[in-house]
Amino acid sequence: MSAPPANHPPEVLKGRYSLRSWLFMVFGGFLIVMFVTISLIRSFGIPWIGLNGSYQDIQAHTVEEFNLLADLKKEHLQLWLRERRSDLDLLAKNQDMVQAVGIINQAHRMGMELAELLPLAEYRLLESRLRATVSQYPSLTALHLIDPVSMMIVVSSSPKFLQRPPANEAKFVRFVHSTRPNGSWFVAGNEPDSSHMKLARRLKDPAGGTMPLAVLVSQVNIEEILLPMLHTGRGLGTTGEVILVNHNQQILTPLKHMLSAGKVAQVGDYRIEDLSATLASRGKEGLLFTDDYRGVPVLACFRHIDIDGDVGWGMIVKQDMAEIDALAWQRLRMSSLVGLAGLFFALVGSALFARYLANPIRSLTEAATRLSKGDFSQRVQIRTNYREVVELSTAFNSMTERLSNWDTALHHEIAIKTRQLTDELNFRKGVEEALKESEQTLTTIFDAANDGILVADAETLRLTRGNKAICEMLGYSEEELEGVSVNDIHPPEDLPHVIAVFEKQLRGELTLARDIPVQRKDGSHFLADISSSPLLLFGRPHLLGLFRDISEQKRAEAERDRLMMAIEQSGEAIIVTDAQGNIEYVNPMFETVSGYNRKEAMGQNPRILRSGHQDESFYREMWETLVCGLTWKGRIVNKRKDGSLYTEDTTISPVFDSTNKIINYMALKRDVTEHLLVAKEKANLEAQLRQVQKMDSIGQLAGGVAHDFNNMLGVILGYGEIILSELPPGAPLREDVMAIVDAGRRSAALTRQLLAFSRKQTMQPEILDLNAVVLDIESMLCRLMGEDIELEKQLKAGLFRVKADLSQIEQVIVNLVVNSRDAMPDGGKLIIATDNVTVNKAFARNHPGVQPGEHVLFSVTDTGHGMDEETASRVFEPFFTTKVLGKGTGLGLATVYGIVRQSDGTIWASSQPGMGTTFSIYLPKATEKASAKPVTDETPKPKQGVRGENILIVEDEKTLRDLLRVSLSKIGYTITEAADGNEAIRLIKEKGLKPDLVISDVIMPGISGSQLAQHIREIHPDTKVLYMSGYTGDTIAHHGVLDEDVHFIQKPFTLKQLAAKVREFFVADEPTAGS
């Protein structure tokens, strides 16, 4: 084995410290740091984690002791004060004493001198009591009895005080005039006594006066009694003291220390200004680190002494901080000395330990140094008990052995590696050729690429190379391109943005820069997506940029956006589904119409809108149309998300792709629900209007027929009655004539109903309470209904009044009840109800004929078989009936209709088959008040005979005129006839006719009945007129209501009715009996 050739000796590195020194420094340093840290923590804690050290513990302990001491002294003082007060109480409540005080005080006030008082037994009693008390309680130095009037000490335990005013007279006076039973105050040291505290007790005047009988005052020496008491207990060191202050912070006990100027503070005079005194005097309690009256830092504990509100003192227990800290520091010093001794021994131990550990390492170091100089024969022998050191020396010896072997093998290895290097050089030549071929291929791809490719110098930003595509995009030739700057191929105003984007790409934060503006050689612009990456070419950093012209793509996107906007803002709902019918898009109008938002609709099938109104065949047919590629149009009732239905006109078209395959369906939907509702409502209103117009036309027709028909009936009935009166009883023709008269009467009834329906009946309206009307005819209605039908009344209290003809209203009720009864052949229930309702404009608009405002609702409801819609729509038509032939005339409800309409009301029937029927009548609330009916004299007037009164009959129908003439002549009247009004006037004017009564038709050729009456009254104002008519029109009545003072008889009438009516005129003129 030979050492390796060493042209340059290896550098010998020398460490700064020996291992032994290093170990000593580390262990020793660690111990010192640990010691200092632990000592500091132990002494001062770690405040910010709340760990207290010895210093804080000592301080806390001192604070605790101070607090306990202050509480103890406060308790002690309060207890002591209460005891002294109790002493006085005991004395004050002693009856003997009170009695004696009264006597002595009285004598004193009467001017008796002390010498005169002394011998009195009461005085001696008092004096001995006071002395005994003082001797019994060592804490008292004196006891006095003071007269509150003379303000003198009258009796005292000590004679030196007698006949003297009480010390601190002002406080005494204040106490005497207060209501307090007890008092206390301090007195500064004066002759004949030193500083003391006084405790006072009122002796109540048995006579009940506001002034006390006397005041008992005890005296306590402060320095001898109070101070020792306050300073008992825990020692306060050389600097500690207890101070009492009053509420003005004036000291009540002497201070231990002199004031800063060397002065001595005077009890009761000197005022302590420090914080603890301020707090104590204000009734606060606590502890503070503060400065005392000398300005020295102290620990001060302050307490408030309060006994029943009479005593309000502050107490301060304090000690100088220096003294407290001195104690703390002394403890800390001792503790630190012990610690330092421990540290010294620990350092010595660490030095020995370091030496013991470092020796084997030193032997190894020396052997290794020799090994490094080429001596591979080095071996070490270490004697030690440590396994690690033995293992280290063994490993060292093994290492030197192996190094020796490696040295031999290394020479052989170098020869082999030289050969391998030659082979490697040959291989690399081959690789370089392959690379050239690869570069050529890449250049071909570079030029053939559709996207523009640019290479630019990263430092100069000059373009170094570009492919054909980029040359075409930019308008440069390949030669021109080289040397063009990157700044030249982007608009100058966009350059900062473009450069920022490129920098991001080069940092790897962005892979593709979109919408980058690029400038052509001619200055025009286009947008491109650019991908840039760094490239190292010829050892210089370059940029490689791939450009894709996206101008065309942008145009297409803009077009698509415009279309999308139009769809989004469309006023019609639009749905786009895929070929399977799953919703891929809905526009906002769809959300508005259907209630489904876009998120909810997406992915769903439009069948979520199905309402069930269309059957499966409907949808099948629709799909068949769509699948064939055709457009489907139709109206669909769909269901919204909230369950409500709506109707829409729908157009669904398939959407094809370029291969003519259906890829989507698009549905255009217009909500026509509102439109349909409006149309339906309009149709309903038109139907109702038509119904009203039809009823009016029928009424007009019926009224016209009734006029002539009544005239004829009048003739039939009149002559029939005349014949009957002429025929003897039992004559064979009598029954036939009676049949004629009966038919005539029934025909008259029919015409009356027709007139009622046509609202041409004359009426005499009055203010009515419908509730009263119902109750009046209730018994009759019950008879009409029979026993199988139950009548229930639901009459509204406080019902509005209506204006109507009573008899007509009764007829209305009867007709409705009869109609209901007929609808309930097997019995049932009939409800008559009244209520006050207010018709609003909307209701009025939907119910032709009803005016807005307050109305009375009168309804009749039955539980009968009801009606279908068509029947209900015709129920008020005259002669319309569902009853079997002969069971009804078909005029009952028509009459009701006419009367209600004539009374300015409306009537509506609501019914369903099997569900009964309700007739609802709305009558307007009467604005007038009901007029009191005149009290009529019911006493019948005596019958008077006819005295040939002159009657003029004016009637264009000759047969009727003849009938009247014959009939009235028979009764005894003198009759003159006229065929029309003009003839009647002629008779009066030219022939001097002066009729007592004119009976005139109303509607005649020429002048009407009312015009005739006007002419006659101009000539003969006293002549009376009786109109007769089957149909009056508006000549003497307005809407059926007769004008005032108009007398009228409805055609057809019987002769008896006419005679009675005529008689009324003449009876009214006859003088009554006795007048």
Binding site: V63, G283, E285, G286, L287, L288, D306, D310
Partner: protein
Amino acid sequence: MNRSQSLLVVTFILCITAGFALFVMTSLEPETKSPLLTYEDLSSHPIYSTYRFSPGDKTVRIGIQPFWVYGANIAEALRHDRLLAAELEAIGMQVEFHSFLKGPDINYFMTRDQLDVGMSGYLPTLKMTTLKNTLVPATIDRNYFDIIARNSLTIRDLEGKKIGFTPGSDAHHALVEALELTGTTARLIPLNIDAIVKAMGDGQIDACVSWEPITSQLLSENWDAHVVYRSRWITFLYFRGDFAETHPRAVHSLMAAQARAIRWINSDSDNLALSSSWAIDACRQLLPDSPPFSLPYFIKWSRQAGTLSNTSRIFTADLDDGQFLHNAFTFMQKQELISADAQWQKTRAMFDTQQLASILENPDEWRLNTFDYAVEEQRP
């Protein structure tokens, strides 16, 4: 481990530490609102809105505070005093008691003429004198507010810490005055008295100002807390001025009943215990969910309070300028708790010491030493 790895580890440890510190600080952020504190319009208060006040012409309506040792004892004694009921009945009147959480609440209803008599601390009493003509003839008790704190030896150690208090109460005044006098700046957290106990227990506040029985409860539940400061309080019995003018006999009967109650409670331990159990029941009725007070403790606190308050006389020295009540009045003006125009002399004149003196001097006439309390009756 190389340098960068070491840096990473150190950064990680710092982040963990900062996160933990942030979490601790956030979790200590106190709830500054108590649910019952936010009612300015007390007509919608969840408790008071259930009260029905009788018409005032025939009923003396008294506002009391059950959460008040000794004050509650006296109030409950008045409630059970048959002599008082009989005296009022003789003049055609009856008495009605309503419980409240704090004095300002009583004033709210007195200003609306729904209460005639109040029993409150000195701050609400002074406030009332500035709102309406008021008669203040007697004190209820004298005691101390306590500032209780953790990890603090003196009040100055509360610098920068969170202190819970009941706004508008006497304790509020005591706390602010203490901080001002000692030059300490702290974060004041307004809380109702029931919330203070919880906040202190949860460690959400570092200190609080309280009174018995809350103080003892806090000290027993928080072993590491102790009293660092105490401030004297006085409480008063006061009447609406118009009521006192129209019903002088009722006013005197109530004052006599209060004096009688003090004598009755202090005359026998059983009486003290009975009045304490009444007071605990009243607390439970007012706030059923509040922590229950132990009867022995309540008796103990009442005894302590009774020792300090065996007279109901008003100490006139407290009314002198620069003294206790005058200082409190000035404080209220400074804190804008009362109007800046309020005049101390006007308030001073509403404190009457003569009426009580005349009653106390005639114990037989006013039956101050005759006791008849409805011990077997349940509260209506």
